[in-house]
């Protein structure tokens, strides 16, 4: 059976368009981990409480994204949350006494790690650890503290 050449061309275009759409969805819409292996070095951060931080959350400095959260673990002895982040290779001159805090983007947005650069001349290396950290703001705790302080104020009167 001979099929018309135009039919073949159309089918070829259709299949190509379908795969192009899938590729577009993979590249543009989702962050496919396969192509997204950040070339960088790993740094560990210790937090008392990471709130709702999740893997693949952005790591920023001065608001610019410089890496991503790679893994989140719990230290079984100190009960600290150990967050491993991958920082892009281009930013290899981050001072060793850099601090880290967990913030929320917008009121209901996702949580991210912000690095505040320090002033030392020694730079972070692969496998280093940042201990100068500020935990995530947990809303319930904040409200609890606020209510307690309200109660204290009432007693004074």
């Amino acid at each position: 059976m001979n099929i018309a050449r135009s039919v073949e061309i159309w089918v070829g275009l259709f299949v190509a368009a379908g795969f192009a759409a899938m590729l577009g969805l993979a590249m543009q819409v989702s962050n496919i981990p396969l192509f997204q292996t950040v070339d960088g070095y790993d740094v560990q951060l210790r937090f008392n409480n990471i709130g709702g931080l999740r893997e693949r959350a952005p790591v920023t400095m001065s608001g610019v994204q410089i890496g991503r959260v790679k893994a989140i673990e719990l230290d079984p002895r100190s009960f600290d949350a150990v967050v491993t982040v991958t920082i892009r290779r281009d930013f290899n001159e981050i001072p060793e006494d850099t601090g880290a805090s967990i913030y929320t983007s917008g009121l209901l947005g996702e949580q991210y790690i912000a690095l505040d650069p320090g002033g030392l001349d020694f730079f972070l290396q692969d496998g280093d650890e940042i201990t100068l950290t500020q935990s995530a703001l947990v809303l319930e705790r904040l409200i609890g503290r606020f209510l307690t302080s309200m109660g204290d104020g009432g007693d004074d009167d």
């Binding site: 259709f14 368009a17 379908g18 993979a26 819409v29 917008g106």
Partner: protein, 258 residues
């Protein structure tokens, strides 16, 4: 009274018999699939009539579904100051649900009904029996290529649908409503996971493609060989495919995201 129960019994037995025939039919069609390697032309011709000719309706509805989602989502999200999440909302709804499901429903109306009518008419005009006379197995020659073509076309159509939907939402959200481009894509990329969202959508549309083309070819093959029978079979294809797709979608969603 006995009349009433005998009617229930008859319809139950009839349904069961149809299910059994459909399964046996599917088995015969699947057995015919490997032979298609030698004759890929048959499948290409079917992909043309099932996939390529469905493109226009998929392109138009995908774009507009995305655009409407963006408009509606924006009006709700802006109340919470969360309009930056519009990209996430549109991408997740399209990839997880609307892309596969709406494509399958459109597919049932556009391609499934045509398949049923075509095979039903072949049966009515005794083309199928003449094929058998010439020792050509209609299962291999007619049914298997159509089944395979539907199975191949559906995920491609669904991917095109979702992609164009997101593009439509981009045009409306960033172009017309004045959202910022950065958060639109950025939040989408950090919220949409390739395996959990994109691949699960593709798996859904593979299942829908299989079920939709199975129902379509079976109804055509099982149609009463009269013009009335073909018309009833065509209606049944659209109704049964839509119900099966919606029911399966619930099950698949519960399995994947539940």
């Amino acid at each position: 009274m006995t009349d009433f129960f005998s009617r229930i019994g008859r319809s139950t037995l009839g349904t069961l018999a149809r299910l059994g025939r459909a399964s046996v039919f599917l088995w015969h069609a699947l057995v015919g699939l490997p032979g298609l390697i030698l004759r890929p032309g048959l499948v290409v011709a079917q992909i043309y009539s099932i996939g390529v000719l469905s493109l226009i309706i998929i392109v138009v509805s995908g774009t507009f579904v995305g655009a409407v989602l963006a408009l509606q989502g924006y009006n709700t999200l802006v109340n919470f100051g969360a309009q930056d999440s519009l990209g996430v909302l549109v991408a997740l709804s399209l990839l997880r649900e609307l892309g596969p499901v709406v494509t399958a429903l459109l597919f049932a109306g556009r391609a499934g009904s045509a398949l049923t009518a075509e095979i039903g008419l072949m049966k009515t005009t005794e083309q199928l029996s003449s094929m058998e006379m010439m020792a050509v197995d209609p299962m291999r020659r007619v049914v298997a290529p159509r089944l395979l073509a539907g199975f191949i076309s559906m995920p491609l159509l669904a991917a095109i649908f979702s992609f164009l939907g997101i593009m439509g939402a981009y045009v409306v959200g960033v172009g017309a409503l004045g959202l910022d481009e950065g958060p639109f894509w950025g939040q989408m990329q950090s919220a949409v996971d390739f395996r959990d969202d994109v691949m699960n959508g593709v798996i859904k549309s593979l299942v829908f493609g299989f079920v939709a083309s199975w129902i379509a070819v079976y109804e055509g093959f099982d149609a009463e060989p009269t013009s009335e029978g073909v018309s009833r079979a065509t209606t049944r294809t659209v109704v049964h495919t839509s119900l099966a797709v919606l029911g399966l979608d619930f099950v698949l969603t519960a399995l994947m995201f539940g």
